[in-house]
Symmetry: C2
């Protein structure tokens, strides 16, 4: 358990550097503004951090201008908190207001602009009512909208040393939490109680929370990897998997662990071994110059020893940071070139037996020497509890 | 601490009834289908429950046809879990796929339809890429899109007895958690440690999680109600507020509590008393026949004893269920008529002193006799720790 207080946020210079780099790329892309509205982007450019995003009621907007600091256009309820961030220009309205939930403020802010970037590509959502978006476009018929997805994700993929420090700390907390699992997961304990104990342990280890805990425990292996728990007790012969996104000061770890309850059967042991070696291959391939596709293929070629179906998960890992899953994707379709200081998950998976699957996951940072582990690596053999 | 396993989900008849009611209203509204894509709606009509929604990578779709069971159009990773739900028709693709993330499946499913409802109104988001939405609309030029927000929110606002049972259980867990706060919140404890202890207690009391914990502790009162914690220790003279959304089997409680650390000053005591009596007024007004506006005015008229500014929060409570905040809103703009079995928060707030505020919150169910408390009501006087 940690008693040391957490140093929260970043100095203003971090946000200023992010904004300047975005503005350089906006200039290259011919954008004179960028309108952002999703939690990770608002946090990335302003430092504004609140769990209040869980309430869908109010929209939040940040406009990154061609020069100078971002402008916040936000509900009154957030003004006090936003004032603690590095921004100077904070515009607000009393929200919720079904007649005008920030739209007239947006029209005013966007009217002088010609070409505005909005995130409308893969892995994005429109975090405002579609009807309000249509109203906004109708009110600004001359405004050109460009897709800013690649620009923003391109910036966010490569982490600063300060971000890597935060990610390293939450990964260490995650590792310590997984190490404690044999203390509370054993035959006879209902899976939902294992989940609760796991979350309590994550908090005791210093996480702000463990918002993402999924997994399963079933005879010989599990059939899916996104389930909530039920009350079924762990039983001898089960394979237990827990996958968790824990968070510290806004940054996530995301990795999993597998255990056998009582004893491990040979097939599960073999699947575990294949995935362990696929992770080895991923670690070796995770260096600048290789692409996500290369990383995918390095892991796939090992997985193919046991399963050449490609699996149900669609990829073998992804980016990690302010979100549990970020771009890029380790998949055949993703040719993103790996860069030093990208933080990634390696997530090899395979199917076996009658509809069973196994997934391994580690968190790494890309270095010229290959992937440097941020998570403490899983045991080389399937651990038995 | 509870050791009794949780009965999860609902019998199929619950989902069938929701779907039938939706289809009756769709027929009245001239819709021959409804396309849903956000977590609460997918869960409401299918029972599909996973924390995997925290990953923004993959879109998920449910089509409610004019007759028969909903149709799931979802990533392969969710098929195994969706098969456990009551649906028969599950269509899937290997996601993520930036070239076609479900769009061709959507086109196929929507092509036979003339008028489709989509949630595009207040308090909604488009949980798919805007670019993909535009592609879909271009591919289906004859399709008419109607706003289904009112239809879906209208159904979800009024809870079934089974839903009220779940809400009642998570509210009881929340109440027990707040009761334990004086055991770990005292002078000298950093606020972030109070938050962690609070979350651990919520889990010990039987919550699946406490995803929403916000609050503050500051001399004489707090300035905002959506902050994350920092490492500042609680100090004599602080007002501590914790507001929490805890969840059990997908259903949320959402209420807060206030305490004075060491001693309570007179102004804070008075603010607390005014809000306690505003809650009384809200409880009396929370019966069928009154509107949300009536409920708002009943509370406002008491709050005006100390503050007639209207506050920064924009409303004095809201709906509660599968989301931390749902429609309706207790605000002057919301004329929604209260109906028996609506589950609501009463959330009177006021501003005082130099930029300070106080918020009370309780959770209730609307009955002909007025609001029936689901949360154990806060103490009538500001408690001192």
């Amino acid at each position: 358990m940690t008693d040391s207080p957490t140093t929260r946020g970043f100095p203003d210079v971090e946000y200023a550097a992010r904004t300047k780099l975005a503005q350089d790329r906006m200039a290259e892309a011919g954008m004179d503004g960028m309108l952002l509205m999703s939690e990770p982007e608002v946090q990335y450019f302003t430092g504004f951090q609140t769990l209040f995003w869980q309430s869908p009621t109010r929209p939040w907007f940040v406009l990154v201008p061609a020069n100078g600091k971002p402008i916040a256009i936000i509900p009154e309820i957030g003004v006090s908190l936003m004032r603690q961030c590095w921004l100077d220009d904070i515009r607000s309205w009393s929200a919720p207001n079904p007649q005008d939930d920030g739209i007239s403020l947006l029209i005013e802010a966007l009217s002088p602009l010609k070409t505005v970037g909005v995130m409308k590509g893969h892995e994005t959502h429109l975090r405002m009512p579609l009807g309000d978006w249509e109203r906004l476009m109708t009110a600004l018929p001359a405004l050109r909208i460009r897709d800013a997805t690649g620009l923003v994700h391109g910036l966010r993929m490569v982490k600063s040393p300060a971000e890597i420090d935060k990610l390293s700390r939450i990964c260490a907390i995650g590792s310590a939490t997984f190490d404690a699992v044999p203390q509370f997961a054993r035959e006879g304990v209902p899976l939902e109680e294992v989940f609760r104990a796991f979350r309590r342990e994550a908090l005791a280890q210093g996480a702000d929370g463990a918002p993402y805990v999924v997994g399963a425990s079933a005879p010989g292996g599990y059939a899916d990897v996104i389930s909530p728990p039920d009350a079924t007790p762990l039983a001898t012969g089960d394979i237990l998997m827990l996958d968790s996104g824990m968070v510290l000061d806004g940054y996530y770890c995301d990795f999993d662990r597998n255990w056998a309850i009582g004893h491990a059967d040979t097939t599960a042991q073999r699947a575990y071994d294949v995935l362990w070696r696929a992770t080895d291959a991923g670690l070796a391939a995770a260096r600048p110059g290789n692409s996500c596709r290369d990383l995918f293929q390095a892991m796939s070629s090992v997985i193919a020893e046991m399963d050449d179906s490609g699996g149900d998960i669609g990829r073998l890992g992804h980016g990690l940071g302010l979100q549990l899953t970020e771009q890029p994707s380790h998949a055949a379709f993703d040719t993103t070139e790996l860069q030093e200081n990208m933080v990634l998950t390696l997530e090899p998976s395979l199917s076996y037996g009658a509809g069973l699957m196994m997934v391994h996951e580690e968190n790494i940072v890309v270095t010229p020497q290959g992937g440097r582990l941020l998570s403490t690596r899983a045991a080389p053999d399937l651990p038995v509890i």
